[in-house]
Amino acid sequence: MGFSQHTGKDGRLSMPSLFQQIQAGKVWDFHGGIHPPTRKQQTSQKPVAVMPLPDRLYIPLRQHIGVAGQLLVKAGETVLKGQPLTLADNSMAVPVHAPTSGTVLAITPHTGAHPSALPELTLVLAPDGKEQWREREPLTLASCDNMTLLNRIQESGIAGMGGAGFPTHLKTGVNQPVDYLIINAVECEPYITADDLLMQEAATTIVKGIDILCQLLNPKAVLIGIEDDKPIAAAAMMAACSQREHYYVRTVPTKYPSGGEKQLIQLLTNKEVPNGRRPVDIGIVMQNVGTAFAIAQAVLDDHPLLSRIVTVAGDTLSQPQNVLTLIGTPVSSLLNFCGFQSEPKQRVIMGGPMMGFTLADLSVPVVKTTNCILAPTAEELPAASNEMDCIRCSSCADACPASLLPQQLLWYSKAKDSEKLAEYNLADCIECGACAYVCPSEIPLVQYYRVAKAELREQQREALKAEQAKARFEARNARLEREKQERAERNQQLAAARQQQQLASGANNAVADALARIKAKQAQASADTANTATETASAATQSSADKTAILAERERKKQQAREYQQQKAAAIAAEMKADENAATDASTDQIATPSDSAAADNSNSTADNKAAAVAAAIARARAKKAAETAPNTAAPVQTDAEASTEAKTETDNDADPRKAAVAAALARAKAKKAAETMQSTAPAETAAAALTAADSEAGNGVDPRKAAIAAAIARAKAKKQADSENS
């Protein structure tokens, strides 16, 4: 109902009355919600503690939604406090800064602050304790335009500090008109008091930050939403705002999840964000109170986002409190600072008890979005007991702030019915956990939805990829078809030209001439590589010769393909035969013949590196196969060593195709020899053979250096093999 009244044109028309209602202090309600015990007293009455510098800081390069910036520093470099470590080279990037001065130890993957505990690229910083600042250039609000402000916000690395981490400069750099700027100070999750303390201690700075946001967005009114269980913070904010007439501090009833973006919008303005749109589409921008504070620091002090207030709570701590923590501080240091006494099967939660995730180990660093570290005892937050059957009691539907039907979603999630999931608006689930909280059967509903959502995302990605693949496949087919057609056309033209020529001159002589030309052409082509041959051919003016050259080229390619097929067939045959040990030698001999001749042929007709490579690969493959079938354990290493050496030498030699072919032949011979020796001779002998083989090869190679390397490798392998044999 509220939806139809307050969107689009209606929304603009009904503005005055709505605005009046808001001015009068009216606060609305949203569907569902729960009242978990808040347990905020643990930390809300104590001042914010400042933690001493930890030994190491682990700074993930990406701590927001978007892409990481370009790395600016190298391992070993010394950095100053506040120095940017990455460069925001596009609008989706947000830089990270050195939280203190020190030395960059490494830039490596490190367990990230993510439920998956997967490693992310992280910069490891060793603080030097000097706290040396880089040069700072504070701005004044009056002296700069919006562009400067937005750049400063981006350069200072500010991303939504309420939990999502959306880049702030994108959210504040909108072009649409903004009616309401909502400052989210609700902090509805149990335990967390970071924003509460921030407001108690720094309300003035926050309001300065809001002033900057107002300059950027120019809203009609600023609504600051605070839950009614934070009276001190609300009073502090009220006092700080007293000079601004369009700033309204609104207390909302304590109910979870009133701090959700959509829920708070509904609470304060009675508007709903239409499905698939953003709040700014209905003239609302929401910023977290911590973000406002960070903006003020960044603009007015040129103090980038280096630290944040983190609530450290739970009964396993002797001193639960709010701590001003440097970004990158490992959770273990933070917990130890607060007197952590771990239990067996301890849970450590990053974030609140409703939406936070458990950490797999404590080396995870605090990032820009970390508002709470929770280390509860088992009695305090009992682990979920066994999941039971759903009794369709619908408590979940009553608690759902998005008015979804969680049990239907559960049903379809289990059935992986993506169509039905879409129909029941799974995408609108904000994963607040209210449904799972009230579920009497203790079904981990949110977990089911997350899996289903990930699955849906993956499906969409797959579908997109399939579409792209199809487009690429079709484009490729079209290209191949076009090329074929072009070739056909050219051939036709050539044929026509030749016919004309034939008509012009005497028939027999022309043919003889053409043949002569072809031979000359072939001879020329053999000197060049395959590609240049084709090019020269197509560029040449003698049309008939060209055509034959192309034909010859194609014929050659076909021939090559056929040979490759043959060789492959032979190789398969070899494998089969190799099973019977006695037959191995004979078969290798057999195969050697066709490939030998092939290599010779190729070197005759055109220069062919490929042939050499093919031969080398075949030699290697055969050697490998022989090794596989060998009964002697020592043999494989040996044969392998030899084969690879040969292959290498050959590849190196490939400038000279003839020699390459020779080398290939030698390789085959050696493979054969190896097969023989492994049946009869001792390992030491084999090693010696390898050595000689390598040496002789070195003589063959055009590049003695490369051959030497190959020989060295062969020797090393032989030695290794001999060692393993001895031990």
């Binding site: 936070g356 682990a383 039907l405 009497p440």
Partner: protein
Amino acid sequence: MSFKIASSPHQHNQLSTAQIMRLVAFACLPGIAVQAVLFGYGVIIQLLLAIVTAWCSEALVLKLRNKPILPRLKDNSALLTAVLLAIAIPPYAPWWIIVIGTAFAIIMVKQLYGGLGNNLFNPAMAAYVLLLISFPLQMTQWLPPLSLQSVSLTPADAVCAVFSQYSCSGFSLTQLQSSIDGITMATPLDTLRTDLSRGLTLDESLTKPVFFAFAGAGWLWVNLAYLLGGLLLIQQKIISWRIPVAVLASLFVLSSIASLAAPDTMAGPLFHLFSGGTMLAAFFIATDPVSASTTNRGRLIYGALIGVLVFLIRNFGGYPDAYAFAVLLANMAVPLIDYYTRPRTYGHRTRSER
């Protein structure tokens, strides 16, 4: 020490399925007590029989299905089914009636559909209908309330009656059923139906001793006791107010209109609300979460549907009381109701707005 990986939320409220089921069963206690006092101790024997049968059959099927037995017995759902069936049947019905009924409810209606949460029909009511159709005689042998009984029964008599159909002093059930003046007593609803079909007017019929004030003697108190239990459940937020209110409201409205239109043949709203199993059904049976509608609007429709069906069957159908039938018919409509009463999701338009 290792760190435990768990999915959020990490906090749960501690009201479990087993507790909900137990609370509903406890809320039946006032009604059961009144029933035992006014209609004899038979109901307690029936209760014991039903619970034992329910546990046994549940355990048997779970074993056959290779499911863990103890955790599922502990969810108290079989217990609740047994309780509801036991208080719905006549207190002195022969023992095998309740055994067959409970076993059918648990094995056929609940477990064969997939166990707790998967059954389409209310197990207790499906079993009741089975018994009513299969054993109509035994299922209508309600004794008159204590005040009208010619022979008063001791607890020992109750045991004898249930197991042998004769009291320990040798009275047959038919003899027990007759009142002080020797006339065989039926339930008030039954009596009214018979009288009306014989051409008596409502007022003439209501003068009979089986009626008391505006409802049946004894039945008024039983209904009031269940109403009390039901209100407790609503207050504890165990059940939603929507279903009982919808049932009672639709029955009230329809019977008011009917009694205004035909005062001689149609009983008034108070008679309907406080006779038979109205309150038991409205608060305890129709609210069974598994087989009831799950959306808020759906619950109102579902409840109203039951009220309408009860009214129709009581006045125009072949049975004096109709809750079992009404509930089963409404159960069948639940998937449809649920589908068409989905709430509007945040940020989405409603079906009509689209």
